[in-house]
Amino acid sequence: MIPGSFEYHRPDSVDGAVALLNEHGDEARLLAGGHSLIPMMKLRMAVPSHIVDLQAIESLHGISEEGGEIVIGALTTQHEVLASALLAGKCPILPEAAALIADPQVRYCGTIGGNVANGDPGNDMPAIMQALGATYRAVGPNGSRDIAARDYYEAAYFTALEENEVLTQIRIPTPAAGHGAAYEKQKRKIGDYATAAAAVILTMDGGRCSSASIALTNVAATPLYAEAAAAALVGTDLGEAAVDTAVRLAEEITEPTSDGRGPADFRTHVAGVMVRRAIARAQKNAG
C-alpha cells in the first residue's frame, strides 16, 4: 500500500501540462482529485515516474452555460456538481448521480474530469455523459478537439484520449426543458461501485415518449450506450410491452464480469431492473 517514487509537477496552464505530458510520454500521469489514481499507485497497479498535478490550472474549474451547452471544467469536483444550482435546474441527473458516488470525502476531492477521463467501467459519470450526448474537449500539442462520450471508451482504462492530451471540458447539449431523467444504481454499500446502474433521459409529448436515451454502468468493460433499448421506447406510451422490450434489449448488450457483487447473470438481471425503474422514474420526472 505504498506507492513507488515519482517526480511531482504542478503546471499552471493547460499548455504547461501538455508540454510535460509530451516530454515524459507514458511515464507521466495527470493527477486531478487523485481518488482513482492514488489508490492504483498504492497498489502499484500504476507506477508513474512523473505526476502532473492539474490543481493549479484555474481555467479547468467551473460550471457555466454557453449557447445551448452546459460546460463543466474538468477539475470541477463531484461536490461542486452536487451543489450546482445551474445543474439542479437544467440537468438534474448529474447532481442526482454525483450523490451516489462514494462518500462526501471522496466527492470533495474527486473531479468530474477524472471520473470521465479514467475509463474505469465502475465510474458512474461516463454512462450518464453518453445518455446526455456529451462531448469531451481534449487539448494536446496540436490544439483542441472534441470527442463524443459515446465514442470515447474503448476498453477498461483504454480511451480515445491520446497520451499527451488533457481533457479540459465536458460539453453537454442543454437537455430540453421538461425532460425527465433518472439514474438508478444498485450498490452494496456507501463507497461501492455499481452492481449495475442505468441512466434514462426522455421527453414526453402528449403521453407519448418523443425521445429517449439509455446508458448502463459497470456491466461491461466500458459504459454501454443502449441505443436499441431507448429506441424501443420512442413513440410508445411507455406501457408494459415497450418497457419489457427496452429492458430485454438493454440486458442483451451487457457483458458483466462475476465479482464480489455477484455472478454475471445476476448483474445482467439487476441492470434490467435498474433500467425498468429508471424509465418509470424518468417518466414521472418528465413534464
Binding site: M1, I2, G4, S5, R44, D103, Q186, R188, K189, I190, G191, D192, Y193, T195, D259, G260, R261, G262, P263, F266, H269, V270, V273
Partner: protein, 806 residues
Amino acid sequence: MNAEVASVEERKQNLKGMGTARRRVEDARFVQGKGNYVDDIKLPGMLFGDFVRSPYAHARIKSVNKEAALAVPGVKAVLTADDLKPVNLAWMPTLAGDVQMVLADGKVLFQGQEVAFVIAEDRYAASDAAELVEVEYEELPVLVDPFKAMDPGAPVLREDLEGKTEGAHGPRRHHNHIFTWEVGDKDGTEKALAEADVLATELITYQRVHPCPLETAGCVASMDKVNGQLTLWGTFQAPHAVRTVASLISTIPEHKIRVISPDIGGGFGNKVGVYPGYICAVVASIVLGVPVKWIEDRIENLQSTAFARDYHMTGEISATRDGKITGLKCHVLADHGGFDACADPTKFPAGFFNICTGSYDIPVAHVSVDGVYTNKAPGGVAYRCSFRVTEASYFIERMVDVLARKLEMDPAELRMKNFIRKEQFPYTSALGWEYDSGDYHTAMEKALETVSYKALREEQKANREAFARGETRSLMGVGVGFFTEIVGAGPIKNCDILGLGMFDSCEIRVHPTGSAIARLGTISQGQGHATTFAQILASEIGIPADQITVEEGDTDTAPYGLGTYGSRSTPVAGAATAMAGRKIRAKAQMIAAYLLEVHDDDVEFEVDRFVVKGAPERFKTMAEVAFAAYNSVPPGMEPGLEAVSYYDPPNMTYPFGAYICVVDIDVDTGVTDIRRFYALDDCGTRINPMIIEGQVHGGLTEALAIAMGQEISYDEMGNVKGASLMDFFLPTAVETPVWETDFTVTPSPHHPIGAKGVGESPNVGGVSAFSNAVNDAFAHLGLTHTQMPHDHWRVWKTAERLGVTA
C-alpha cells in the same frame, strides 16, 4: 467540622460508581486524534520492515534471491527462513499446540504467507525492495474445499507433520487432519434422534470472516544491547502472555523483556495471537541493534492475520410432536487453514462450541468437531465472542428455527416451550457446562411484548397475501433470536493458554490525598476499561471514579494477567478489581476505627466513609483514612494503602439476551432493509449503562456485517477474493439501522459484583437474529435454510430458486 454532611444519595452521585452512565474518560484523547497507537511510536534510528508475501496458495520455494533488494538505497537487511534457523525461529509455536512458519521454510501454504522480511530506513525503501526480492516458486495442487481435505488423494499440505499420527489434541486420521474433539453422550443422542416424532437435519455453514479492526496489527521492537533489555510495543490483546511466549522462544530472560500495548484500535480477537511480523521485528532489532517497526496494511491484515469462523456444522435436532426438544447432534468440519493457530484455551481445540445446546433444556446431546488443514490463512479466533461461541449460538438458533418450520410452530413459541426455566439454575447442560443464572422466559416475554410480536406476524400474513396477489414485490421477515453466552474464561482448573491459568489481576494504590491508581492484567481495545473499572472501584472503596486512574498494558508495571478477549475483562479482571478494592476497604476500616477510637466492628462503610454505628455524626472519610494510612496507622500495622488480587473465577458467567429483527426484502434485486432491530441484553449487574449501550451498538453492527455481507472467500486456486474494504463489508452509518436496546438484570451469583460481561453478546446473538429474519421472509415458500452472508445476489438467488423473481 463535618457540619454539612451531604446526603447519601448526593455522595453516591459524586462517586460516579456502578450504575452511572459515566462518560468515557478515554474519549477526550480519541476524539481529538490524540490517542497513542503503535504506529505513533517513533524512536531514534528506527527502521521499518515489510514482507514479501506469497502470490500462491500452495507452492514449493525453489530459491530466494535477495541481491536486487539489498542494492536498494536504505535497505539494511533481508531475512528469510534460512536466516532464522540458526536462532531456531524459522517456526514458532501457535496457541493451539501446532507450529507455524515465521518465514516460508521450503514451501508456502496460503496466499499472502510471509516469505521474506525486508528491513530499511523508511517504508518506501522497504516496499520498493520487497518488490525486488526474487522468489522462484513451483506451484503445487491447491486444497481449498475443506470437505475434500481428508480425501485419500488430497495433497499433502504439512510435510513437517508427515507420519505424525498424534497431534496436540489426540489422534490424526489423515495427513490433513488436525484433531477430532468429542463431547456428550453419543449413543444416548442417537437413540433420542431415532425414536423422535420429528427430526430436522441441516448443514449450517458459518462462513470465513475477519475481525477487521480499524487499526491493523503491528509492533515496534527495540533491543537495547547494552543492558540486554528488549522492549516490544505492539497491538497485543494479551501483553503478559506475549512476554512469556517471547521469553520462551527467544531465550531472553523474562525480566529483560518489557511488553507494552499502547492504545489499540480494536482487536476483536485479531490481536490475540502471535504473528510472524512480531518475531521478525524482534529478530531484526536484535541483529541490527536498532528499533524496528512493522505495521500491516489493510490487505495484509485481511489476507494473512487471523480470520474467524469457517465452521461447517451438520445438525440434527429431534422433538416430540408438540415441540419438546429431545436431542441434538452436531458434527463440525472446521477449516483451520494452513496452520492450526486458533486461540483457544489449551484443552478446548473447538473452544466452548459445546455451549451449542444454547438456552434450551435439551436432555441429551453430542458434538464432534474435525479440524482440517487447507491452503488458507491460519486463524480461527474468537471474533468478538468467547471461543467458538458465536458459531455455537448461530448453529442452535438456526436449528431451532429449522425445527419450528418442520413442526409448523411459531419460532418464538418453540423457544418459550424449551427454555431452561428460572428455577433450574444453576443448570448443568447435556454437554457439561454449569450455567450460573438466567431468566429466559422473562426476557423473551419482554422482547415479544415490546415489539408487538403478534401484530408483526399479522402484518407479515397480510404482506404475504398481498405479495401473492402481485401487489408488492417486497417480503417481510421476522427473525427471533435468543442466545446464551459463556464468557469469562476461566477457572484455572480447566482453562489455560500455553499452561498459563486464565486468572486475572488488579493492583491498587491509594495515594495520601485520596486518589488512586489501579493497574490490571487486561488491556482495553476500545471497551472503556479506564472508565468502568474506576466505577467498580469507586463503589467498592468510596473514592470518586474521577480520582482513580486505570492503567493497563505495560508488563513492567501491571500485574500479570491473561488479557482481554472472550468478554473476560469484567468477569475476571473486574472481579479482581472488586476483590482488591475489598482488601483496601478492610484495611481502611481498621485505620478508621483506630482514628475514631472504636473497635473495628463498630464502624461501617457508607458510600465514601466509615461511620461509627449508631453515631452518624462520627465518621472518617476515605480521603481522611488515605492520608492517615501514610502517617497514623494502628500500632503493628504496615503503613500505606495498597492491595493486589489475582482472581481465579469459580465458574464462567452466562450472559443472555433476546433479539428480534424485522427485515423487508426486495425480491427483484435481493436488497434487504432492516426495518427494526430490538436487542434485550441481560449481562447481570450493569456497571455503566451508556458503555453497555455503546458495546451493544458496535457488536450489532458487526453482526449485521457478518450476516449480510462479510466473507473471506477463495477461488479454486486459493486466491483470496476481495481482501480490501471495497469488497469486505464494513458497514457505515448509512447501512446501519437504528438499534433499540433494552435489558433485564439477572446477576451472576458467583461474581463479586454480579456482572457477566456484555461486549460480545451482540455479535453472538445478533448474527442469528438477522439470518433468521431473512430465512423467515421466505419460510412460507418452503425455505428452511439458506447460507450466509445474505448479500444481494444470494438473497436474489434464493428468491429465484423459490420461483418468485420476475
